[in-house]
């Protein structure tokens, strides 16, 4: 590559780079700097105090635990339901394209609107979910499950809304993956006398592995970052029963105005997420290891 080529390349990506530097790299720098100061006493340098406060706080561990539970619970459910849906649609019954289009619709709904819908459906006075359960004879009265105000169910309710919103994404990715599997593999297995479940375990699932890894990784990152749904449904409550890292950081910042402490929490959250992603990508996505 000549020198002038290098200069042109620089010209092409510098406008975007300037944007990213100003609104991503610089903010990150600010975030780390802020985390070392106490915002209450007029920006006094406190070193790692905010971090030690976070790492000794029960609330932080509770939120971290809730985040992990939320991510694992929601993504597992999404993977299982998404896989079932993808398998159903891949049978290629009449009208499967139309059904696929129907399933796509939740994908375009804003997480906030999804939160509102579920807030309404799970309402303990006029929510339709309890009403349906009551009419089906599964619960004793229409008010017996306080989905959002009972600390036992709050986080589960948030997961439910997240599963509804994003399972179609999982289904779509998996369906595309299934359709990419060569039909000759199935024919060969069929000739060898493999049954339906054998074909699933020995062909579909292994061939889907890389697609599943990518889809799960994308969904895990997004579920860990999610804020809107949980904020709308419970604001992290009751108590701290559904507090995740996002809502905890937001509360610390917006309600208690503790810039320093919330920045430290945000840095810890970022480090946690990046290391989990890094681990996954090294272990599962590394093409060199695939042969092994």
């Amino acid at each position: 590559m000549t020198k002038s080529d290098r200069r042109t390349a620089l010209l092409f990506f510098s406008p975007a780079a300037v944007f990213m530097l100003l609104f991503f790299v610089y903010p990150m720098f600010l975030l780390i700097r802020d985390s070392l100061f106490d915002s209450k006493s007029g920006m006094q340098f406190v070193g790692a105090e905010n971090y030690s406060r976070a790492l000794t706080s029960d609330r932080f561990y509770q939120s971290l635990y809730n985040t992990v539970v939320f991510v694992l619970g929601a993504v597992t459910l999404e993977l299982v339901i998404g896989l079932i849906l993808a398998l159903l649609l891949s049978t290629g019954f009449k009208g499967n394209h139309f059904v696929r289009t129907l399933f796509l619709s939740p994908l375009m709904i804003a997480p906030l609107v999804c939160g509102l819908i579920w807030k309404f459906m799970l309402n303990d006075q006029f929510g339709i979910l309890n009403s349906l359960l009551y009419r089906a004879g599964l619960i004793d009265s229409p008010q017996s499950i306080l989905w959002l105000s009972d600390s036992k169910y709050a986080l589960l309710s948030c997961m439910l809304a997240d599963v509804w919103l994003t399972t179609p994404f999982m289904m779509l990715i998996l369906l595309a993956g299934i359709q990419g599997i060569s039909g000759s593999l199935y024919e060969a297995a069929h000739i060898d006398g493999a049954g339906r479940s054998q074909r699933f375990w020995h062909i579909t699932l292994p061939s889907l592995r890389p697609v599943i890894v990518v889809a799960v990784l994308i969904r895990m990152i997004d579920a860990a970052r999610s804020f809107d749904i949980i904020w709308v449904l419970t604001q992290g409550g009751p108590g701290f029963s559904s507090s995740v890292l996002s809502t905890m950081i937001y509360n610390t910042m917006a309600r208690y105005n503790q810039t320093g402490y919330s920045s430290a929490l945000a840095v810890l959250f970022m480090i946690a997420l990046l290391s989990v992603c890094g681990f996954f990508m090294m272990r599962l996505w590394n093409p060199n290891k695939k042969a092994a």
Binding site: T8, T91, F93, I109, F120, G183, S262
Partner: protein
């Protein structure tokens, strides 16, 4: 071709249809219920034994929604910020993606890694310092602030989408344009961009959705004059009067156009969603 195709209507395939039907009902129900509720008379919305269909169809909730909320203004703010951030980020992002696709350099690779890392950073972490920067610039609660924020969030996404498209275009295209007297930039504008129109369309749709659906950034960067519809909607929850009827109407107003649009262009959405995640 699919795995189990070519079978007659047996017990198995009947089971498949029934299962699929149940899932369809379960997944469509919440949104259908929202739309139906928005068409109920306001008193029926807060009934303790709710029904799916309204006893009479009425637009009362939609009428009331304008009294509770300056919905036209919020809708306008949402639209304006989403469209401008999309235009800027798609242009700058494609420019960068083209540069990165055609010339490989160490700096470029570093930049590419940065855009990937951005995808993994929790938005709330960026939101805190962004809020301070926006304040320092003196543009808090302006549409400009939201446009800048959305553009910077969308750029990495656009780069990743477009790089795949540009990599798929043969380099001879650029070269022949240059032989014909185009500059590098001219070749990009006149040859590459027009050919990439399908990719640009898909990317723009997603970029638009990212801004349109955002709640967190708008919540932090606006208070009154630049407030977007999601933030306005969220206030139905904190308000003392739980105005659920107008809330459902506003939620439908916000999401319905997008739903209809996404139905019309679902082919592009499928290709955009599966891009990157599924490779042969």
């Amino acid at each position: 071709m699919s795995a189990f195709a070519g079978r007659k209507l047996t017990l198995g395939s009947a089971l498949i249809l029934v299962l699929t039907g149940l899932f369809v009902i379960a997944f469509l129900f919440p949104y259908v219920y929202l739309v139906m509720t928005s068409l109920k008379p306001p008193s029926e919305v807060i009934s303790s034994s709710p029904t799916l269909f309204p006893s009479v169809f009425t637009f009362d909730n939609f009428r009331k929604m304008f009294e509770v909320l300056p919905i036209g203004k919020y809708f306008g703010n949402s639209f304006f910020t989403a469209i401008f951030s999309t235009i800027i980020s798609v242009f700058l992002g494609s420019l960068a993606a083209y540069g990165l696709s055609r010339f490989s350099s160490r700096l470029g690779n570093l930049f590419l890694l940065l855009t990937l890392a951005v995808r993994m950073v929790p938005l709330i972490s960026v939101a805190i310092p962004m809020y301070r920067i926006i304040n320092q610039l003196g543009i808090y609660d302006t549409k400009l602030a939201l446009i800048l924020v959305y553009t910077s969030i969308n750029i990495p996404f656009v780069i990743w989408m477009m790089i795949g498209f540009f990599d798929g275009l043969p380099k001879e295209l650029d070269e022949s344009a240059r032989v014909d007297g185009c500059s590098r930039f001219g070749a990009f504008m006149r040859i590459i961009l027009p050919i990439s129109l399908p990719g640009l369309a898909t990317t723009s749709i997603f970029s638009y959705m990212l801004s349109w659906n955002d709640f967190l950034m708008a919540l932090m960067m606006t208070s009154t004059s630049a407030k977007t519809l999601p933030v306005g909607l969220s206030e139905f929850l904190t308000a003392y009067n739980l105005d659920l009827g107008p809330m459902t109407a506003a939620a439908v107003t916000f999401s319905f156009p997008v739903m209809v649009f996404s139905f019309l262009i679902q082919r592009y959405i499928v290709s955009g969603m599966t891009m990157g995640a599924v490779k042969e």
